[in-house]
């Protein structure tokens, strides 16, 4: 499935009932060089809009919110040694976590690629 975006610049990709979550290209560009990512424990349950992770650039720490509700089933351990992947491949190897989605209809409220592009044009 194609990516869906939140207004807070997280992306989510749904495959079956598993959602992969990361931050957008725009978000990584705004942050600058990422030096640390704090990921949740596997098994943790998060509600849509809850803080799910923390991403730290050289300048500052920012919260990453869960785009949908669910249980954390996997985290991207590779980011511990190589947090720069968030800058290099934000929607690929720089993914943060996977969720077992409790209510797939929550994705309906998120933006597709075209809508997100329009949104970025509005805010910048």
């Amino acid at each position: 499935m194609a990516l869906r975006y939140t207004k807070d610049h997280e992306w989510v990709r749904l495959e079956g009932d598993t959602a992969t979550v990361g931050i957008s290209h725009y978000a990584q560009e705004q942050l600058g060089d990422v030096v640390y990512v704090e990921l949740p424990e596997i098994g943790k349950t998060v509600a849509k809009g809850d803080e799910a992770a923390v991403v730290e650039s050289v300048k500052a720490a920012s919260e990453v919110y869960a785009p949908v509700s669910g249980e954390v089933t996997a985290i991207n351990d590779a980011l511990e040694a190589a947090p720069g992947a968030v800058n290099e491949e934000p929607t690929g190897g720089g993914w943060f976590l996977k969720l077992k989605v409790s209510d797939p209809s929550e994705l309906d409220g998120l933006m597709d690629e075209a809508a997100y592009k329009t949104y970025l044009a509005e805010i910048s």
Binding site: E56, V58, A60, S62, E63
Partner: protein
């Protein structure tokens, strides 16, 4: 994700003479101390930081305050300034620069600054100051109100300041201002840069060898452009300026030092010379001399968090669950390759290798008190060139 608002389009923001040059290089401009300033260029903070440590970084620091304290002779100007700062100004040799602090009556730091005695006899009695951008209005009012008759403050608001920092800075300078390369660390002289009249000092805020070049606003573009054309030189923004100075263990005003901290608490006792310690006669001398002999109740130290999580400004420092201090600057040290921080801890915990905990997002992260700087200074001191 939360992103900071970094809109610098506000018309009220002041611009340095190099504003268009930064925009042309693709800089991200942010508000800083009332100015639109480049926080980073397209290379990014990590690359700009590494470039400065390995080559030569070019910084626009024209937002900083340049001023002259002018008196009838050196003795009169220096005595007037010594009533406001604890540094030895009277004893400055011609062409020498000293780091000192403007103090309030309680010995707290109003600002930290550089003071240079002119090298030319005809300019003697005109002490050159460089103060922090965010404090210049406060500083100038404070100084003006306290200067005796015959000594006055002359803000040099029509001058720009450019810093060239890094191990290749001297090689680059040889091609444009040969005389400046003969300067030792913390010395300054007037020099021609490609024929342009400048005041050049061997100093900086990165822990590296380097120069700070002061020139008329109208000449800033020419000097900047000539340096940017050199293969060893890349532009470096305020983001990397901050990581470089943090690794070098240097204080940032408003974060590591403020009106409540004394120079002794701030581990700046080295900047108060023997004569001033013996004679006193500066604001807050009672407190400062007492802290020198009895040790202050808290002191600025370096901190090395274990693990990878940076501890930011405002992070509580604890031992056995009890708060014993606070982080005043913290982040990632690109050259160190790990998180680093500075902060104040109670006197019992200042010794290197003391184990403490940093409370990051509610969790205690182990950390160790360390000596500063985190990366060795590589200044071109007079005795090691």
């Amino acid at each position: 994700m939360t992103t900071q608002d970094s809109d610098s389009s506000d018309a009220a923001l002041r611009r340095t003479p190099l504003h268009d040059a930064h925009v042309g290089l693709g800089a991200r401009m942010v508000p800083f101390a009332g100015y639109a300033m480049p926080v980073q260029y397209p290379a990014g903070i990590l690359k700009e930081h590494a470039w400065t440590r390995e080559n030569a970084g070019l910084f626009d620091v024209s937002h900083m305050g340049q001023a002259v304290v002018a008196g009838p002779d050196h003795e009169a100007a220096a005595r007037a300034l010594e009533a406001l700062v604890p540094g030895d100004i009277v004893g400055l040799a011609p062409g020498a620069t000293r780091y000192t602090q403007l103090l309030n009556d309680a010995g707290g730091i109003i600002d930290d600054l550089m003071v240079t005695r002119p090298i030319l006899p005809e300019a003697d009695g005109r002490l050159m100051l460089v103060v922090n951008a965010a404090r210049k209005d406060v500083d100038y009012r404070h100084i003006e109100a306290r200067l005796p008759g015959g000594v006055r403050l002359e803000p040099q608001s029509d001058r720009a300041l450019i810093a060239l920092q890094g191990p290749k800075a001297a090689d680059v300078m040889t091609r444009h201002a040969y005389e400046a390369v003969r300067l030792a660390f913390m010395h300054a002289a007037p020099a021609r840069f490609d024929g342009i009249e400048c005041q050049i000092s061997r100093s900086g805020y990165t822990g590296e060898d380097g120069f700070e070049i002061s020139m008329a606003d109208a000449d800033a573009d020419a000097v900047w452009g000539a340096l940017m054309a050199e293969p060893e030189v890349e532009a470096v923004g305020l983001g990397a300026r901050d990581t470089l100075r943090l690794e070098a263990g240097l204080c940032l005003y408003g974060h590591d030092i403020d009106e409540a901290t004394s120079p002794i608490e701030a581990a700046l006792a080295w900047s108060i010379g023997k004569r001033r310690r013996e004679e006193g006669g500066f604001p807050g001398a009672d407190r400062i001399l007492a802290e020198l002999s009895d040790k202050p109740s808290r002191r600025r130290v370096g901190l090395r968090p274990e693990g990878r999580a940076p501890a930011r400004e405002g992070t509580a420092i604890a031992v056995d669950g009890e708060t014993i201090g606070m982080v005043t600057s913290g982040g990632f040290g690109p050259t160190v390759g790990a998180p680093i921080a500075m902060g104040y801890v109670a006197a019992a915990y200042v010794a290197p290798d003391t184990r403490v905990e940093l409370i990051v997002r509610g969790r205690a992260q182990p950390a160790t008190v360390t000596r500063l700087p985190f990366t060795p200074h590589r200044y071109a001191r007079a005795d090691n060139r």
